[in-house]
Subunit: 137 residues, 2 copies
Amino acid sequence: MKEKVKARSVPFSKTRNRHANETAEDYVEAVAEIIEESGECRVLDLARHFNVSHVTVSRIVKRLQDQQLLYSQPYRPVELTPKGAKFAKRVRERHAVVLAFLMALGVDKSSAQIDSEGIEHHVGPKTLAAMKRFLES
Amino acid sequence: MKEKVKARSVPFSKTRNRHANETAEDYVEAVAEIIEESGECRVLDLARHFNVSHVTVSRIVKRLQDQQLLYSQPYRPVELTPKGAKFAKRVRERHAVVLAFLMALGVDKSSAQIDSEGIEHHVGPKTLAAMKRFLES
DNA sequence: CAAAAAATGTAGCATGAGCTACGGTTAATG
DNA sequence: CATTAACCGTAGCTCATGCTACATTTTTTG
């Protein structure tokens, strides 16, 4: 007889959850950019953006909709909820700071673009502030 | 009327593989540190280090052994293969540079330690070189 | 406006990383 | 030296992210 599965006690320190949060940041950021560039964001736009199948995208969109970051209806474009738009704004600003910072450090644009996309998720408030100070000097 | 959104010139690598590689970096680095500090590295040392169950550790150790980065026998300490030792050296040096760099930027030690552990995995050769130049000036 | 093309959705599978429960080994110690 | 404690392995579950194959809906077009 199997026992009942107990509830998780510490949900957010673990790698799996951290990665899921990074995915949320990436998707919300991409949705905001694609809407800004082309007026609307389709599932396939995201699939091409992340170089991933549309299936992967639509499952993640569903989860982010459950988290009230995105909104979409079947066969319709993906939109940002107000919560998602605020989240996207923060993420995009942080990304812009990291990118500008790396270039100011002397990293070429191409490398800076690649590295900033990985680094941005791990830049805490203190580090972000330090990068801003550096950019202003 | 919407325009096509083209895929990024340097697309995201597949997230799952990226994460697996980060895990390899983290584990190899931790094994090297633990051996240096206490003479040997047990599965439970790693479990405590990453705040994870021993089951998770032993599965990952098994995979890294298949990749010839680690070596272990049942109920025995985990060791680095020659390949793993070289890998660990590179990873630890990069980590040290990132940590020193953040502190030199003015980030407090505690924040720098936390952020450097996330950032290190995404610091490419060009960015690493730029950080080293900064540290020397 | 019907047929073809494009876009999405669903089913079902793989792998990585997390867990608990349980059992087997090794090391400590009374 | 027999127990106990610590350590480790295996079974079997969840969830997140990948996929292909196939079904459905929307859009384009002949």
